[in-house]
Amino acid sequence: MKRHLPLIILALGAVWLLASLRERAPETEFDVNGFGRLPVLVNGRIKPMDTVARSSLLQLQGRQRVATPEGETLAPIEWLLEVQFRPEKADALRTFEIVHPDLLTLFNLTMADGDGKKRFSYLQLEKQIPELERQSRLAQPLDPQARSPFQRAVVQLHANLVLYHQLKHSLMMPGAPDFLGELMRFQAMLPLGIEAVRARQAGEPFDERAFNALIELGQRYDFLSASSHLLPVPPAAGADPTAWKNTGRALLDTLETGAIDAHVLAYAGLGHAWQRNQPEQFNTIIGLYRTELAKTLAPRLKKTDVETRFNSAQPFYTSTILYVLALLLALGSWLKWPDILGRSAFWITALAFIATTAGIATRMWLEGRPPVTNLYSSALFVGWGSVGLCLILEAIYKNAMASAAAGLTGFCCLIIAHNLSLSGDTLEMMRAVLDSNFWLATHVIIITIGYSATFLAGALAMIYVLRGTLTASLDRATADAITRMVYGIICFATLFSLVGTVLGGIWADQSWGRFWGWDPKENGALIIVLWCAIILHARWGGLVKQRGLMNLAIFGNIVTSWSWFGTNMLGVGLHSYGFMDAAFWWLSAFIASQLAIIALGSLPLASWRSFRPAA
């Protein structure tokens, strides 16, 4: 039994992982998942409604789940349906996160009024929105870095309310008692109205009632068009494939085409069914509409389907949990059953690695890009790279050290990625300057693997120091093995950082005619290369021994985190005195923790609990 434990753990993990791929059945009779798969164009990318719901919720309130006042939980797509079709109900849901106390005061609210002491509903905020807009106008002209924490909170909340307003106006006019009926009347009166407009333009007598009614509706749809950034209406077959329209625009175009756009009608029909609680009607329209879309957008639908499945599977969340499990198993293996628990840790790490690999690969396929395109994906990739290296090390050394390091770095990187995802959709479009798949695939990937390696060396060294000073479990042989691992990984890191930095220089020369410009990000990369070179030369020159090497490698964590995040914060933390961005505090805390471990590692050997001569 004990012998088969690693296999059993592996099997359980695999089953759990596969279970996450299964689509969760909704608790309502409505085919909300089908709705979630419908494509829309937002921020330059065609994505499923489900992604819109999730990334909007992350931006508004930092999590995807919505709690109703009755204590029930809504899936993101159900929340989006309420916002789009029944805003009066969505207005009562507490989905706006406010933490700045002065901002709460602005709304005459206290923490006790909020869900989880920080989430508030649109109804709670509604009255004071003019005042918020005034505060936002005061803050807008300032440089983002020069804004006070209060002003930042104001600008953020204002942006969130704008987003909410846009979502409300994305498929129908909020507040219309029967939008579908309104469209039908619009269609019916159109010929008369257009004739009246023509007659008036020609200076002939015209039907004033039909004219006024048409103008009124025109203004109404113009407002609708100006109020939404979500483009649900795909272009006609053969037209420019990026020329999607929002609902208001498509309705205005009716004045030229004479017939209301079928996509707008389909969504109005869905809204009608949702408002009147008619699931069969809702599901029928979804089915018909999809069949219609599939005629022109089949490849797109395939992508949005996969993306929806990817969203609900949450491979990175699953991996986070598996990494914690791997870390615990590895730590456990140093106390008891080194072989069995060690092997279990290895297999769980491998499983988590497969899940992250699948996640990253899906993102690449969706985006049609190399894996690292923004800070979020770099966090995923740094974790992926160091776990990959750990699997190789563990396969060679089999002492659970690398599995522990994998659990640690994998977990930390995914947590960082999660926090970076709070700013919205993480599959962003690439700005023109970065739009080069060749360099993204070479320079960016190589330099990111360099980060992975320096962090891995740092993690192994941390484990060495902590295990050596705090426990008596580190023996000579293991210590020597870790030293070889750290040394090897530093060599690897030097290679990748140097090559990556130099490739970056070549990219700069190709694009801008200069190899090196001393800008913060370039300097950060250079510092990593120099630091790795220092470690290697200090080792070769005999300037440091085992513990010195470990301390230098831990300092490498600081150097790399500076290059990765610190350089991006230069405009932030150092500019505006008195305020530090939240991320800046995390970076400072990380650096402090690393310095503390270095101090621990510098204690004389006599104070270490391991390596003591047998008394």
């Binding site: 330059g44 190899f515 220092i534 070769w540």
Partner: protein, 391 residues
């Protein structure tokens, strides 16, 4: 004599020196990165890298004190250290070949950066659609141009660098029948039209042309990458018979100010420093695509026509992100746009030593790869022996 030479030699080849120098360069680079927030990228390069010592002024004085070794100092010592260590210590063996090549590449890279620092020049060219220019402009420096336009066939131009204006240096040029006397100079200032009856706020009275109606608001120097300092100068021209008057000039005044003296026509302007080229560029069309439904730029590109006076070159070129034009030793790349997408801004770089980094890269890549393979092979050998010993 032997002893001091030996210790001198030992000092320069030691690995300890290498490590110390690299540590110093990390401090220098880190410090320079932080300083960019205050000083901007150009001043930082001058202060930290293209210098032997980083100088700081004693507070409240103008006395500079070296506080840290600069880029040339550290880089130079590293270069000596590398070269000397190679000559005296390394024996070219197969096992060391990777390391040897890597360091050779490093030497080339350091030299390349030195030459770049010495020779590289950067300018800008702003072109409106349909406009043709045969010169680029500096985006940091300005010049005072005094142009004689008497002959309709050609202009006779005398330019005076901004430095001299800043110093208040009087200029007497053989082609000018008057002396140029800078009376006042602000390195960065905003100009406004003065309201009627409002007195001028500057100590030097201007009595010619537009300057008589301007109000000058001195501004602090800006170091931001996307802003430039716009100086203004008060220039008095003095002929043999006395003063011609005082003009206020600034790059913000787009039109040169015209005047007549001794029966000849002149123009005076403070303008962005120009570099004339033996060819001309015409902007045919600037395009700027955004992603649907957003303001995120998808790409921007300039279709330009390149012509030379001798007619040897006359062709159309498309310059866009990651695809610059290389011509006549210069690189023209798409840097920005303005004026509702009707003006393109091209950045122009001259870097004669641009090949060195490539050579260095090739050497280092081969070296590192070789070293990595050699180490890996050694490591695998050891494991195989160990496993064999175990079994």
């Amino acid at each position: 004599m032997r002893e001091p030479w030996k210790s001198f030699h030992d000092f320069f080849v030691s690995l300890k020196l290498t490590v110390v120098l690299m540590a110093l360069s990390i401090v220098l680079v880190f410090w320079a990165t932080l300083a960019q927030v205050q000083l901007g990228i150009w001043a930082v390069q001058e202060k930290f890298f293209r210098t032997f010592f980083v100088l700081e002024h004693i507070p409240n004085t103008d006395i500079p004190v070296p506080v840290f070794p600069g880029g040339y100092f550290i880089g130079g010592l590293l270069l000596i250290n590398l070269v000397v260590a190679h000559i005296s210590r390394f024996k070219l063996t197969w096992r060391k070949s990777g390391i040897f090549l890597t360091h050779l590449g490093l030497i080339v890279l350091l030299l390349g950066e030195l030459f770049t620092g010495l020779w590289q020049e950067e300018y800008q060219m702003r072109l409106d659609e349909g406009e043709t220019k045969n010169y680029s402009e500096s985006y940091r420096f300005n010049e005072l141009a005094i142009i004689e336009t008497t002959d309709p066939e050609f202009d006779d131009v005398v330019v005076i660098p901004e430095k001299l204006l800043a110093r208040g240096a009087e200029v007497q040029h053989p082609r000018l029948p008057f002396r140029v006397v800078p009376r006042l100079y602000y390195p960065n200032a905003a100009l406004q039209l003065r309201e009627a009856g409002q007195p001028a706020n500057t100590p030097v009275p201007v009595n010619r042309d537009i300057g008589t109606r301007l109000q000058t608001i001195p501004l602090p120097l800006t170091y931001k990458l996307n802003e430039r300092n716009l100086p203004t100068a008060f220039i008095e021209l003095i002929g043999p018979d006395g003063s011609l008057g005082t003009w206020q000039v600034s790059p913000q005044l787009l039109q040169p100010q015209a005047f007549t003296y001794a029966g000849r026509q002149w123009r005076i302007a403070l303008r962005f420093e120009r570099h004339y080229k033996p060819y001309a560029l015409t902007l045919l069309k600037f395009s700027h695509d955004r992603y649907a439904g957003t303001d995120i730029p998808k790409n921007f590109s300039s279709r330009v026509r390149l012509t030379t006076p001798d007619g040897a070159d006359d062709r159309e070129i498309l310059i866009f992100m990651n695809n610059p034009l290389r011509y006549g030793g210069l690189t023209f790349y798409q840097a920005g746009f303005d004026n509702n997408d009707r003006t393109t801004i091209l950045q122009i770089v001259r870097n004669p030593s641009w090949t060195l980094p490539y050579i260095a890269c090739a050497l280092m890549s081969v070296g590192l790869l070789a070293q990595f393979c050699i180490s890996l092979a050694g490591f695998i050998d050891k494991r195989v022996i160990k496993t064999a010993a175990k079994s």
